[in-house]
């Protein structure tokens, strides 16, 4: 019934569209509501920066307002601001009485603003598989994991430390702890280290413990990779 009494003309292009958007607005923080006092200070401000007061949209923040909230003349306030080059678009904060008075004057209550950083982040591009770089030594008892990427360690990895990556692992110091690369199944993952002294090395679950590393390979710059499901240890410099 209802649908039929207000039929939408399907063939006609819609006259509008609603979309959310973010704006940067000036916020006018009011501390009191005495119009005479506000006006005096406004005139001062305008003298300092006349260009600013040119139909500038503002949000009135009522958080700091002290004094009685009864009988506040928002219409008067609105006109005062309009008269000095500002266009109030809404209010923020303030108690229920102030908010009701503002609503009567046609000033809507704006929702709590979100931090700008968070808004920006959601708009940013999804980062592609990133590497994680650690520029300090990784000490015994510490664990560092690089998800969805490579792990690059500029210092040494101590015995008793554990470094893990979904991708490759590069250690530009001595590798003395445990290193596990490709833990989500990337068989192309490799471990590179400046000096192989590890307690354990592993790629996609294939591992060797310290004992199984040839003395000849120890203390050297090495790379470790998988070939036909077996770990291969190979000097980086021949």
């Amino acid at each position: 019934m209802l649908l039929r009494s207000f039929p939408l003309a399907a063939e006609e292009a819609p006259p509008f569209e609603l979309k959310g958007s973010l704006f940067t607005l000036t916020v006018l923080h009011l501390f009191q509501l005495d119009r005479a006092v506000i006006e005096r200070h406004l005139v001062e401000k305008i003298k300092q920066a006349p260009a600013f007061f040119n139909n500038t949209p503002v949000v009135i923040d009522l958080e700091g307002v002290t004094g009685p909230a009864d009988g506040v003349d928002f219409v008067g306030l609105y006109e005062l601001l309009r008269g000095h080059g500002m266009v109030p678009v809404g209010i923020r904060n303030g108690g229920p009485k102030l908010q009701a008075a503002a609503r009567l004057a046609g000033l809507p209550m704006l929702p709590e603003s979100r931090p700008v950083a968070a808004a920006r982040k959601s708009e940013a591009h999804e980062p592609i598989a990133r590497s994680r770089t650690v520029n300090h030594p990784i000490r015994s008892g510490q664990q560092v994991y690089a998800a969805e990427g490579d792990l690059i360690v500029l210092g040494a990895v101590s015995a008793g430390a554990e470094i893990i990556a979904d991708g490759n692992i590069h250690v530009y110091g001595a590798l003395r702890g445990r290193a596990l690369a490709g833990i989500k199944g990337d068989v192309e993952a490799r471990i590179f280290c400046h000096s192989l002294e590890a307690e354990l090395i592993s790629i996609v679950g294939r591992y060797r413990i310290s004992e199984q590393i040839e003395p000849a390979d120890r203390g050297k710059a090495m790379q470790i990779y998988l070939a036909e499901d077996r770990l291969v240890l190979e000097p980086l410099i021949h």
Binding site: P137, R139, G141, A156, S158
Partner: protein, 270 residues
Amino acid sequence: MATVIVVTSGKGGVGKTTTSASFATGLAQRGFRTAVIDFDVGLRNLDLIMGCERRVVYDFVNVINGEANLNQALIRDKRVENLYILPASQTRDKEALTKEGVEKVLNELKQSFEYVVCDSPAGIERGALMALYFADEALVVTNPEVSSVRDSDRILGILASRSRRAEQGDPPVKEHLVLSRYAPERADRGDMLSVEDVLEILGIPLLGVIPESQTVLQSSNAGVPVIMEDGSEAGAAYGDLVDRFLGKTLPHRFITTQKKGFLKRLFSGS
């Protein structure tokens, strides 16, 4: 502004308390107003090594709990000017060390002292964490053996991740290595790690090497920090350590084997 220095190691029995006592004494002897706090609640012994165990009335936990004020609990050293000791409680457990309580006491000490030295208990539990949490600098005490070096490495990781400086993103705690109970001839024989071995593993600057010395035990029993023992190698090594901490460049002594002559062997105290 006062500097808070923690003396820590992870492992027990490596020489933290010995180092705290001599380091604090050395700073005070050089004219700096210094307080040294025993964080080893339940196992207090800094007061023994400092020779003031018979003058303990109130302790660190009393001050934290507001049962005594700082001036009542601080013990003034009788031999060295500018030196004060805040003893640990022997009867409480480590849970008495709350972060707020420790911070309050440290802030108060920082008003009137230039250096506040915190003697950490062993382990990585509350007492040790509280001793290092507020530190600006750390003396990491290590013996030349694998397990001690491993524990120091662990503590360095904790300093870098769980100190207040780390949590607040301030410049990191400045780390100094103190290699204690070093016996060059045993390192030469390969029974012990060498200075180079330890430095290579821990990778932090070496502040001092303290030789293994009989004098340390004797002076601890006498309640005299070994830095006050004239003519002892360990005491001299601590003296150098304090000077280096204060910015002097001095070569490291007592790290190579000296062939001792017969007479020297007869008369050497250490």
